[in-house]
Symmetry: C2
Subunit: 257 residues, 2 copies
């Protein structure tokens, strides 16, 4: 490689502030995990422990720099694989965070980092791949991660809060709740996803009625047996996987009567 670019770590501290911002990719990975005691499932996400300064020892979102030869989404996927072993089916861009001092501990300065954050929803089967939590990779509750541990690294607590807010916006969760579940699921399981995301109870009968009007939800002829009650029917989601900026081509069409 040529010598014209020495990279951020060839510069000393006072020079770093003058360097162009570097680009990183991070990912918020949500999974629905059953509560330990007889409670409702809640949202969890995997975090990795920082092994370098700044914020060494604190928990952070999985992420890393963007290399020159991959698209943003590819970078997010590669990084997820490397840091957590996960390969989520649903992955979408969330937001680009670029505040001036988000890479620095308070009072110090470091090179400017702009993070493009993706979010993913994973199924229980995918989440099990990360079952072997290590000392440096572990699941945390999405709503309380970092509490009592001196907080998360960088501005990652705020990023998670923003992701939770986006998730609970109806337009979003209505189209993607299925990605938390396996290939087939009962309506009660789907309702629990909604309840965990929205943070409130839903009427089972009304929930059923509304979902019956959604053509992408297809009844199978299978039933889930083994419960101590009437076996519920299994359903399947047949809509598109919807990753990335999936928008219908838009043309202004005026209906002039």
């Amino acid at each position: 490689m040529s010598t014209v670019f020495a990279g951020p770590f060839g510069a000393n501290v006072s020079e770093r502030a003058q360097l162009p911002p570097s680009l990183a990719i991070s990912t918020v990975i949500f999974a629905l995990k059953p509560a330990r005691a007889a409670g409702k499932p809640t949202l969890w996400l995997p975090l990795v422990r920082r092994v370098k300064e700044p914020f060494k020892g604190q928990w952070a979102l999985p992420g890393g720099p963007l290399t020159a030869v991959e698209s943003l989404e590819d970078a997010a996927r590669r990084n997820l694989r490397e840091t957590t072993g996960l390969a989520p089916e649903y992955l979408e861009q969330l937001y680009a965070f670029g505040g001036l001092d988000r890479a620095s501990r308070p009072g110090r300065s470091a090179q400017r980092v702009v993070s493009i954050v993706y979010w993913a929803l994973v199924r229980p089967t995918e989440a099990e791949l990360l079952a072997e939590e290590t000392e440096n990779v572990a699941w945390h509750r999405a709503d309380t991660a970092g509490e009592g541990e001196g907080g998360l690294a960088f501005d990652h607590r705020e990023i998670i809060d923003y992701a939770l807010w986006r998730l609970s916006n109806k337009l979003e969760y209505a189209q993607i709740a299925y990605h938390f579940l396996g290939e087939t699921f009962t309506l009660a399981e789907l309702r629990e996803v909604y309840e965990a995301v929205l943070g409130r109870q839903l009427d089972p009968a009304n929930f059923r009625r509304q979902l019956k009007s959604v053509p992408q939800i297809e009844a199978t002829d299978q039933f889930l047996e083994g419960g101590r009650h009437r076996p519920p029917r299994l359903y399947r989601y047949t809509g598109p996987a919807r990753t990335a900026p999936a928008f219908e081509p838009y043309r202004l069409t005026r209906s002039t009567p």
Copy 2:
């Protein structure tokens, strides 16, 4: 400045592909402009002509590189001021585009550029500041810009289409349509904004009924006179300006009955 960083233009072509991606900010600026003949207003946006390769001579979104000392939104504002003279009140992040070859003409290669795109809605009074169109800055219809001119530079046509789609998503336009209008407006003017964004006619009576249930829309005691008909009442939007990731702090609150 130190010599350790020579910048992308110190490298030759074959080396550029190996450089870390550079960061740029672009902005899609929508304004509602009255149609020439007796038609409905339509969406327009200002474009600037490329004076350098690649895509020299073609129209592009206003934009430029991100400097080290400004936040993403500040960079968008500064760049808008410099290229178009506009200072929009409403400015929000749209999406980060980072495909591998979006900075290259087909068949050639150039340095990788990641663009963080903002969008703005401007009022007619703001838009007039750009009334003096020059040879290199001009308003274009949002839905047809680039047609018959060999297309827009880069992937900017796709970016505009994505912005139009986002704009027409109900959750968004319902909260921001007022930013197209002046401080006070009639319900008919507001309805025309909705009609231009949605591309279809709305029933005036039903539109009025729905907006009366929105507390942020406040009736003034003024009326717009001068028309050849009954003078309509003027209204005012009293809600928040809503820029940047404005989300209500989110906590999972479980209602356990």
